[in-house]
Amino acid sequence: MKQLVEKHPLAIRWFHWVNFPVLALMIWSGMWIYWANDVYRLGWGKTTLVKFFPQSFYEAFHIDHKLAQGMSWHFVLMWVFFLNGLLYVFYTLLSGEWRYLLPTRHSFKEALLVTLHDLGLYKKPLPVRKFNGAQQIAYTSVIIMGMGSVLTGLAIYKPTQFAWLTQLLGGYEFARIIHFALTIGYVLFFIVHIAQVVRAGWNNFRAMVAGFEVVEVDSTTHQVVAGPTSLPAADATLSSN
């Protein structure tokens, strides 16, 4: 028998959907800035596997010669990115949502099983709860990455006033490398995230917009028998059956 179960609180849905375009624009304006000194690559010696970024990429997306505009957008939207992230962290702490989001000592093993399952190498059912171990690790990591972006950003934005921070992060040049690498990290996160959302289906996606999921409940025991559920003991471990 189908029932509605609350999944994502309204505040978290807002933080999520505000962050999406703002982070996208931060990455976009960041590329306008990066273009003016595009020295990073993956490779060794004279071998370059990936150049950040090829000329054709700049041309296709008209990224060149926009340093001033890029900086102006970046230093305006940084406030929205920072405040939205800060409010999200405060909200999760005050509401108790952090219990679902923070990894536990079981999360790492579970994340491995989730990964194997998603690759088709592990056939047993996965835990039925709001966020599995892989999600807990991913959603907590991305917040730490956000903090990293804010701190490395500050270190290269005001390297004299925050000289201690710049030094702590390995100096001006290295802080810029971390700032860039974190951005690549968001892009990779985004790709996996979209793939997982597509895979998880409509019920799961709708929950991030409307807040609820429809689940199949046994009418006598009131136990969720099918479908994802929001209700979980936050510290529940992987189902053993």
Binding site: M1, K2, Q3, L4, V5, E6, W17, P21, I33, Y34, A36, N37, V39, L67, A68, Q69, M71, S72, W73, F75, V76, W79, P127, V128, R129, K158, P159, T160, Q161, A163, T166, Q167, Y172, E173, R176, R206, V209, A210, G211, F212, V214, V217, S219, H222, Q223, V224, V225, T229, L231, P232, A233, A236, T237, L238, S239, S240, N241
Partner: protein, 277 residues
């Protein structure tokens, strides 16, 4: 893996009666419709706000609201600024020759013997001229700091010159009353801004007075142990690790003080006026 977790999790209130399925699905449809319309409207408002923003009249190369936020950021960092905070120094062995990047204002030759730095007194408006020997007579300060280009690269350089603050203590031109501009105890009638121009006035920068009086802001005449070359701003240039390289004006011609922000070459082209570090 414990046993109790093997059972699927129960619903919110296990004792509460279940809703009829038709009611549940109707509720799901209603809430979905409302939420998706809400998200769509929020998206439209966002796009509308974006369109409004980029259609605002430009203020020196960027839409006015963006310029206002950059200026607010500048005021915030001014409020946080402390003149005792120093840019880190490096070993001299790490010093390299920076890229020449930019030759606006450097047309033609300058003879260091006949070159003069013209400084307009804040109070009097009268112009006083200084020779390179006048600057070299001030205490020589050497520092090995990181020059940071707004493009994103940086290079460690060994600079030598006189502190602008020492110059303004010796020649008290930055106050209306003619009192020396002590950076630790700035007089009330100290000019809030300094502007500098190349002799041909083709390149110009503006600085807040706090950055100008910072102990690492130099009227620089040597780079990596050698007198400045023409391309690096001979005979005298500004060097300050408080600002991006765009503010390190080469070949100083005129220094003037102002009540409002002096014009700035790159700020007119869309960059942050403060460009402070």
């Amino acid at each position: 893996m414990t046993d109790h977790s093997s059972a699927p999790a129960p619903l919110d209130q296990p004792g509460a009666p279940l809703q009829p399925e038709a009611a549940v699905l109707a509720e799901a449809r209603r809430r979905s419709r409302r939420s998706f319309i809400g998200l769509g409207l929020a998206g439209l408002i966002g796009i509308g706000g974006w369109d409004w923003l980029i259609s605002q009249p430009a203020d020196e190369g960027i839409p006015r609201p963006l310029r206002k936020v950059l200026d607010a950021n500048g005021r915030l960092s001014q409020a946080y600024f402390k003149e005792t905070r120093l840019a880190p120094e490096f070993a001299r062995s790490r010093a390299k020759t920076p890229r020449e990047n930019g030759d606006v204002g450097l047309d033609g030759e300058v003879d260091p013997a006949t070159w003069r730095m013209r400084v307009q007194g804040y109070g009097t408006g009268k112009t006083q001229e200084f020779t390179l020997a006048d600057i070299k007579a001030l205490p020589k300060v050497e520092m090995v700091t990181e020059l940071k280009c707004i493009e994103g690269w940086s290079v460690v350089v060994h600079w030598a010159g006189a502190r602008l603050s020492d110059f303004l203590a010796r020649y008290p031109l930055a106050t209306r009353s003619g009192r020396p501009a002590d950076p630790l105890n700035p007089p009330a009638d100290l000019a809030p801004y300094v502007g500098m121009l190349t002799p041909d006035e083709q390149y110009y920068v503006g600085l807040d007075i706090a950055s100008a009086l910072h102990p690492q802001t130099l009227l620089c005449y040597e780079m990596n142990g050698e007198p400045l070359t023409a391309a690096h701003g001979a005979p005298l240039r500004l060097v300050t690790p408080l600002k991006y390289g765009i503010k390190h004006l080469k070949r100083i011609g005129t220094i003037a003080f102002a009540d409002t922000r002096p014009k700035d070459y790159w700020a007119e082209l869309g960059y942050d006026w403060d460009s402070g570090h």
